[in-house]
């Protein structure tokens, strides 16, 4: 199609159509965001090409801002009192699901290919999760209960662990490849300390900004200016994260976390509550663009490797979550269903695989280059599946756990 429709009009039409596609998805028992994503795929580069790759890159800021709001929301739900009530179970779950995903995927890929650096890399990518899908489902169905709270905590904090696991094992894989080709070595130590530093800086920057933000937000009147303040601080921290390569999710989560824990519950509620009108629009834009980014043509590249990766990652996350919940003596619905809620994987994983490719291009040996290329095509393909299956499983889990209120299916009254 050679029609040159302005992107802004395409986005406008899509966000209106999305409202209705979302309703159709709900009628089919699926979360609305699946509808938005499918619509986005049609509009995007794979099918109609109404939005060019170039304009998609220009609109990246919308995705980033939406993700910042998602992370902020997660943080604001994490009141320390609530976390304490959930107990050490949460910490054990985060540790177990992340490490289990790493080990199961690593082992499976090694058994399949016998290639150790490759196995390390796929293992390193496995813990990374995409919180937006889970949070969108929670907000759409207005779920309430301990599983909901546990999900907020897990999808938020496991990003930090994922960064560390990735940093360590990617450095290890690079080390092995360098020894093979005896090329110039990149310092091992620096590539291990870097992720730790990144994590500390993300948490630190988020905390400092969080204190300033909370002090301002508590005093700000009229209340309808609160969204402007939140928007300002979220975009500011996103900009900071891009500048210093910090984690957008962790930094913005801390922003909300500090607010929730330094402010009375009622006033924190009323501050965050100012956003609720606009979260649906943000989710529509976020998943429309996510869908538009999906490259259906990448699906055939899935191959056996991709299928093994998906199966092993799913098994690792679910098994790990179960194990952690058992060890921490969490209640039975968390033990049974939490693993279903954390399967989404999207932008963060693709971003990490881009870093792998860049790192391995610097090493330059044929083996390294081959791994770099395989990782990026495989993860692009598996993300399509995880991005669709993840939220559906999250909805299934919350439904089974009885945390979806009966009324919310009509959703009209307030």
């Amino acid at each position: 199609l050679a029609l040159n429709i302005p992107v802004i009009a395409v986005i406008g039409v899509s966000s209106i159509v999305a409202i209705y596609v979302g309703k159709i998805a709900r009628k089919a028992g699926l979360p609305s965001l699946i509808g938005y994503m499918i619509l986005g795929t049609f509009v995007g580069t794979s099918v109609l090409s109404l939005i060019s790759e170039n304009s998609l890159n220009h609109l990246q800021f919308i995705t980033d801002i939406a993700l910042g709001f998602v992370a902020f929301t997660i943080g604001s739900e994490l009141n320390l009192k609530i976390l304490k009530r959930l107990g050490k179970g949460i910490i054990l779950i985060i540790l177990a699901e992340s490490f289990a995903a790493f080990f199961v995927v690593g082992a499976a890929v090694y058994l399949l290919t016998g290639d150790l650096p490759m196995a390390l890399i796929f293992g390193a990518l496995a813990p990374a999760s995409a919180p937006a899908g889970t949070v969108a489902v929670i907000q759409e169905y207005k779920t309430k209960g301990n599983l909901t709270k546990a999900l907020y905590a897990v999808v938020g904090f496991d990003d930090g662990l994922a960064v560390i696991i990735f940093g360590f094992s990617a450095a290890l894989a690079a080390r092995i490849l360098q020894a093979e080709s005896s090329s110039v070595s990149v310092g091992f130590l620096s590539s291990v300390t870097k992720p730790l530093l990144e994590l500390a800086l993300s948490l630190g920057a988020g905390t400092v900004l969080g204190f300033i933000f909370s002090a301002l937000a508590r005093k700000l009147r009229p209340l309808n200016e609160i969204p402007a303040l939140i928007f300002g601080f979220i975009t500011l921290s996103i900009g900071l994260c891009m500048w210093f390569n910090l984690s957008l999710i962790l930094t913005n989560m801390m922003l909300g976390f500090v607010l929730a824990n330094t402010t009375s519950i009622t006033s924190a509620r009323s501050i965050v509550g100012q956003l609720k009108d606009y979260m649906p629009l943000l989710f529509i834009l976020f998943f429309l663009l996510a869908g538009a980014h999906l490259q259906i043509s990448a699906l055939p590249a899935l191959g056996i490797l991709g299928i093994v990766y998906m199966a092993a990652r799913t098994a690792g996350l679910m098994g790990g979550a179960w194990l952690g919940a058992v060890m921490g003596k969490s209640e039975s619905k968390i033990r049974k269903y939490l693993g279903f809620g954390i399967l989404s994987q999207a932008g963060v994983a693709i971003g990490l695989s881009l870093i792998v490719r860049q790192m391995f291009e610097e090493i330059g040996s044929p083996h390294a280059l081959a791994i770099g290329a395989t990782v990026i095509t495989t993860v692009t393909a598996t993300s399509i599946i995880f991005e669709i299956v993840g939220p559906i499983c999250a909805k299934f889990a919350l439904g089974r756990a009885g945390e979806i209120p009966k009324k919310s299916d009509s959703g009209s009254r307030e």
């Binding site: 800021f61 300002g232 975009t235 500011l236 606009y278």
Partner: protein, 410 residues
């Protein structure tokens, strides 16, 4: 260094600091938007250069949407029922304040320079007002009353009249210049260039009206109010896109949408829509005026010269006197007669946009005269807009206060 990070970081700084510079401005009795603009000017290209012009251009997506929302909210205030109450005086006021601004500026500049095409161009730029400033002051002060309603109506509708008058006067000036440089055979051009702005206005109103009907049709059938922001954003984005594609007026298109909404739905629907817009408007206002401020080039202030001074005085006199004559002829309230003109002095986006049109079109005309006029129009309008944007909102607030339409809690 990549471009993306700078932009978001700076946008964040702009919005958070903007919020408080607006509060500082309110403290000393100025409208908040002056605070946003001064911050923008300070951080923008002309002072600290923290906010490079490249970044400003990269944000046109946001500024366009923001302007669309502002225009939409103007349209939402143009209720025919309320307008009917104000009577035909509004129509008379719009015609007289626009015409008188055009005539006085043309006469003033002609007396100064003796250059007819130049005077016509400045005259044609005079009627345009910047409704965003006026609306922001009204919303900020929560003003209520007949003067407030009249300001909404006049500031909203006179954009259309301003574009019509600009179209005719600019076409006439162009004709003079072309015949000056080539001799004759320009009758055909006169028709063509007079028809174009008319088409532009009609198409803008038509497209916006159509979108407005689609919007109301959809909004009456929405099952959940949570979907209102998405629907509103969608319609405004479409309107903005259509305007960009077919060179229509972004303001008129989105205003027409709001106009249809307010006049074809119940008050309850109107109230739900505006209550959903409330949390969004401060962000849009801050960004819009911050970026407008960042665009301004302070060094131009010195080059404003006598033409600029004459332009400012003649335009102000024309607006104030014209509004008074129109209001008197239409038997409007005494307070409308006295104070309305003071609320109409802001001038920004539309006038700068129109002056850029002159710049582009006149550069293609052979001869140095046209080129000189084009350059002079752009710099002078940019410089005078700074002044009008600084004094316009202040005077609007003064007028509203004098008319007793600002609740005392403020």
């Amino acid at each position: 260094m990549n471009f993306e990070f700078t932009t978001l970081f700076l946008v964040g700084i702009a919005v958070s600091l903007g919020l408080y510079s607006g509060k500082a401005a309110t403290k000393i009795g100025l409208p908040a938007l002056i605070g946003y603009m001064i911050l923008g000017t300070l951080m923008g290209t002309s002072a600290l250069e923290i906010f490079p012009i490249r970044t400003v251009h990269g944000l046109s997506f946001i500024t366009d949407i923001a302007l669309g929302f502002v225009a939409f909210s103007i349209g939402l205030e143009l209720s025919i029922r309320a307008l009917a109450k104000l009577g035909r005086s509004i129509g008379l006021i719009i015609i007289f304040e626009s015409l008188l601004a055009l005539l006085m500026v043309t006469a003033g500049v002609y007396l100064l320079t003796g250059d007819l095409p130049l005077s016509l161009i400045f005259g044609s730029l005079a009627p345009a007002t910047a409704p965003a400033g006026t609306i922001a002051v009204i919303q900020e002060c929560k003003a209520k009353g007949n003067l407030t309603k009249a300001l909404y109506a006049v500031a909203g509708f006179d954009d259309g009249v301003a574009i019509v008058l600009f179209g005719f006067a600019a076409a006439f000036a162009k004709l003079l210049l072309v015949s000056e440089s080539s001799g004759s055979g320009a009758e055909f051009n006169l028709l063509a260039s007079a028809g174009k702005p008319f088409m532009e206005i009609l198409l803008s109103l038509g497209a916006g009206g159509l979108l407005g009907y689609v919007y109301t049709w959809l909004i009456k059938r929405l099952q959940s109010q949570n979907e209102i922001p998405a629907l509103t954003f969608g319609i405004i984005a479409i309107g903005t896109g259509i305007a960009a594609q077919f060179h229509l007026s972004l303001i008129l298109v989105n205003m027409a949408v709001g106009f249809i909404v307010i006049n074809t739905t119940s008050t309850r629907v109107y109230q739900t829509i505006t209550s959903r817009l409330k949390p969004l408007m401060p962000i849009l206002f801050i960004l819009f005026f911050f970026l407008a401020g960042a665009h301004l080039d302070i060094s131009m202030l010195s080059s404003i010269g006598t033409i600029g001074v004459v332009y400012i005085l003649a335009r102000s006199a024309g607006k104030i006197a014209g509004a008074r004559i129109g209001a008197t002829m239409g038997n409007a309230d005494v307070k409308i007669r006295k104070y309305l003109g003071l609320g109409l002095l802001s001038q920004a986006g539309v006038a700068i946009g129109l002056s850029l049109l002159v710049f582009q079109e006149f550069r293609e005309i052979p001869g140095e005269h046209a080129a000189a006029i084009a350059g002079s129009a752009v710099t002078t309008i940019a410089a005078t807009c700074i002044i009008f944007e600084l004094i316009g909102p202040v005077l609007t607030k003064y007028a509203l206060k004098k008319a007793g339409e600002i609740p005392s809690e403020n």
